[in-house]
């Protein structure tokens, strides 16, 4: 499917989703409330069938956090980037997708470790790269570490 066709079929299913086509891929922006059902549909809908989650990350925009999911369909060969805005930077929460794509088990733990996003219903929500006792979330823009030497 081309980006245009994707846009049509996704917005037919979820009219609340907004799109922007600034990058190379089609970006779809979903709300936190709808997120889980959108992801399930994207995975299981026969026309869309996004079976390969190839990148899962987060961006700290200081005022809010943005979750970014890069999805690809191996059968239809199309790519969609789904974004979810998290307004609460103190205790950001989002539903886990670890049961839909198993690769999310590790990737969500990494986002939890470095950004502090809490994934609800994740099977094993622990820090993955840093020590359990680590203080703070290093990839946040407001992270301070007195041992860090900056230029």
């Amino acid at each position: 499917m081309t980006n245009e066709e994707l846009k049509v079929s996704v917005s037919a299913l979820y009219p609340a989703i907004t799109f922007d086509e600034t990058g190379e891929f089609l970006n779809a922006i979903s709300s936190v409330a709808e997120f889980r059902s959108v992801m399930k549909t994207l995975r299981h809908n026969k026309e869309l069938e996004f079976d390969f989650l190839f990148c899962l990350t987060c961006i700290d925009w200081k005022t809010h956090l943005m979750m970014v999911y890069h999805l690809m369909s191996k059968t239809h060969k199309h790519v969609l980037v789904l974004k979810v805005k998290l307004d609460d930077t103190k205790d950001p929460q989002i539903e886990s997708v670890a049961d839909i794509w198993k690769t999310a088990i590790f990737h969500e733990r990494e986002v939890f470790d470095l950004f502090g996003v809490n994934f609800k219903n994740h099977p094993d929500m622990r820090r993955i790269l840093l020590d359990e006792s680590w203080d703070g979330f290093p990839l946040r823009k407001n992270y301070v570490d007195e041992n860090m030497i900056s230029i």
């Binding site: 840093l130 020590d131 041992n147 860090m148 030497i149």
Partner: protein, 176 residues
């Protein structure tokens, strides 16, 4: 006795009627034995470990100098080559490995990361800025990663250092 033979075994041979007597210093013999059979621990964290493996292969062949008995357990090793970056999470493990090694034990810090944090010195939150914050280091080799020849040079330097130690007293400084 010829000069070359002296280098092979640090002793004097005195011929007698029914054979001979070997005269040497205990220090010299102990150091000779220790320096020529250093058993390194198989320990590599990142890129330098690949160059350490290259030093073990047929082209560089560190067994020429007696290093080929690489041991996987610290209890059988007497040399630890810290090949690669040490991060905060790894530091306690490295300390434990060092503590488990029997005395006398030696440390080579291989590569820029182990000397000072190297390329990961600025703006990193998890890198230990030099392995000498964790364990004492005998020989440092710069490079990112150092060539296998540099590692061989470091190991030979360490052998020289060992040859100048004294068993019963403090170690002598290397005379240069």
């Amino acid at each position: 006795m010829a000069e070359t033979e002296k280098m092979i075994f640090p002793a004097q041979l005195h011929q007698t009627a029914d054979g001979g007597i070997v005269v040497s210093k205990l220090d010299d013999i102990i150091n000779w034995a220790r320096s020529n059979s250093l058993w390194p621990l198989v320990f590599g964290t990142s890129c330098c470990a690949i160059e350490m493996m290259s030093a073990a292969d047929a082209k560089y062949d560190w067994s020429r100098f007696g290093f080929e008995v690489a041991r996987a357990t610290p209890r059988q090793a007497d040399l630890i080559i810290v090949a690669g970056t040490i991060v905060m999470k790894m530091a306690p493990v490295l300390k434990r490995l060092y503590d488990q090694m029997p005395d006398p034990k030696y440390v080579i810090a291989m590569g820029a990361c182990t000397i000072s944090g190297g390329p990961f010195f600025y703006n990193t939150y998890s890198v230990v800025k030099g392995v000498d914050h964790v364990i004492p280091v005998d020989v440092y080799i710069p490079g990112c990663p150092p060539r296998p020849e540099a590692l061989l040079h470091a190991m030979i330097t360490l052998q020289e250092k060992i040859k100048n130690e004294t068993y019963f007293g403090p170690s002598k400084t290397i005379e240069k």
